[in-house]
């Protein structure tokens, strides 16, 4: 803002200019009598624009007579203070190039009162606070903004800069969304869907009770593409962990939507052979995010309408993306008849990469019919 040094010189010039302009405007409207125009106000009207709104009410009818006497005294008496704020106001005001704003007082008043703003402003401004309050805060801020106008105009560089900054922020936001927020949201969705499937199947079971465990492992019908037929539960991944399991391994129908996908050409839970499934390790809820944390003997449970198929984790390996022999009925062995039932989980390795695949194997342990209730293998894993 303006310092005292540049405040001391301009005031007189600015004041004179102000006076001329105000007088010219006023006389254009025909509001100022001739007697007033050549009165000593010529020195002081500099204060006029500062306090335009507050005058008409206070204006005494005989103000014009008081003016010549008091105004000069007041002005000189308060001279040390006046330059500090008045020049600033004036300068700022007139450099804004909007003399109209000084006019609201006169335009709103009747012709009879029109002279009052001038005189009262002279009386009030040098000594009283209204000028300080209204002047420095109100008109002090406004001109500051206006003065910057020339530099605020549209510029190609500035526009490009803002576009680039915005693009950068959007990319960061996208990463936050993909790697953290959306995974959290979809993880929760999958957990809840698995839980609601359990409820639904429990309700069906209580409506039509099945047989308790008789040692027979049921045969499950092959699921359609994208059809959710089971849920994957791994206590090591958390007590509430559940991932819907659907047929097929297409991203569009299964992996990106349901959660875990079953390789259609592999066997089904409980059958001799390989029950092979795939799931995201990152993004889309990341159902196999913690697959590398499995420890030997951890339960991998496939829950279906009929009951729970419990597998026990045995080992992992890292393979090329084309190592399809991990899907064989006996993994990694060609043309060998399967006698055991195994589960194979496939996901990406390393995380966020397509370079390799992580493969986790488990051996089938037991089947628990729904009539017997949830198996002990589902109890949360400690440590």
């Amino acid at each position: 803002m303006s310092s005292e040094s540049d405040g001391t010189i301009p005031p007189t010039r600015a004041a004179r200019r102000a006076a001329e302009r105000a007088a010219a405007q006023a006389s254009e409207r025909g509001t100022i009598p001739a007697a007033d125009a050549d009165s000593p106000t010529a020195e002081a009207p500099s204060f006029v624009p500062v306090t335009p709104p507050l005058n008409p009410v206070d204006a005494p009818a005989d103000a014009p007579t008081a003016v010549p006497v008091e105004a000069p005294e007041a002005a000189t008496a308060d001279e040390p203070e006046a330059p500090v704020e008045d020049p600033f106001n004036l300068e700022a005001f007139f450099s804004a190039g909007r003399p109209d704003e000084a006019a609201p007082g006169p335009t709103e008043t009747t012709p009879a009162e029109a002279e009052a703003p001038l005189t009262v402003a002279m009386l009030v401004t040098p000594s009283a606070e209204p000028a300080t309050a209204g002047g420095s805060s109100g008109s002090g801020r406004r001109p500051g903004r206006r003065r910057k106008r020339p530099f605020e105009g549209f510029s190609i560089i500035g526009f490009l800069g803002e576009i680039l900054l915005t693009a950068g922020a959007l990319m960061l936001l996208y990463l936050v969304w993909q790697l953290w927020y959306n995974d959290m949201v979809e993880r929760g969705q999958q957990d809840r869907e698995a839980a609601s499937l359990t409820e639904k199947w429990d309700a069906e079971e209580s409506a039509q009770p099945g047989t308790p465990n008789d040692g027979v492992v049921p045969v499950i019908a092959a699921p359609g593409d994208g059809e959710i037929f089971a849920t994957l539960r791994i206590p090591r991944f958390g007590p509430d962990y559940g991932a819907p399991l659907a047929g097929g391994v297409s991203k569009a129908k299964t992996l990106d939507k349901a959660g875990i996908g079953h390789y259609p050409d592999t066997q089904l839970p409980g059958q001799a052979g390989n029950f092979a499934v795939a799931g995201h390790r990152n993004t889309h809820g990341a159902p196999l995010n913690l697959v590398a944390d499995l420890r030997v003997g951890d339960a991998i449970v496939i829950e279906t309408r009929e009951g729970w198929f419990t597998y026990r984790y045995r080992n992992s390996e890292y393979v090329q993306p084309t190592a399809v022999d991990v899907l064989n009925p006996v993994p990694r062995e060609d043309s060998v008849a399967a006698t055991q039932s195994v589960i194979t989980l496939t996901s990406c390795n390393p995380k966020m990469s397509t370079a390799e695949r992580i493969i986790a194997y488990g051996l089938f342990e037991s089947f628990t019919p729904r009539a017997d209730g949830a198996p002990t293998s589902l109890t949360p894993t400690e440590g």
């Binding site: 996208y174 969304w177 927020y181 390789y263 993004t283 196999l288 393979v319 496939t346 996901s347 397509t354």
Partner: protein, 52 residues
């Protein structure tokens, strides 16, 4: 761009800030609902399956 936006917004500063926050919220909602999933469908390079 943003200076123009600030100028277009009506009212005093506090009202502009509130309006701005609302605008940001709307933009974020649109991004999360439509924008980011669409981007993911394009740039998604997650491969988790074993294929020939």
């Amino acid at each position: 761009m943003y200076a123009a936006l600030w100028r277009i917004l009506p009212g005093p500063v506090w009202l502009r800030i509130i309006l701005l926050l609302i605008l940001i919220g709307v933009a974020l909602y649109a991004l999360v609902t439509w924008g980011f999933p669409w981007v993911q469908s394009i740039v998604d390079n997650q491969e988790v399956t074993i294929e020939q």
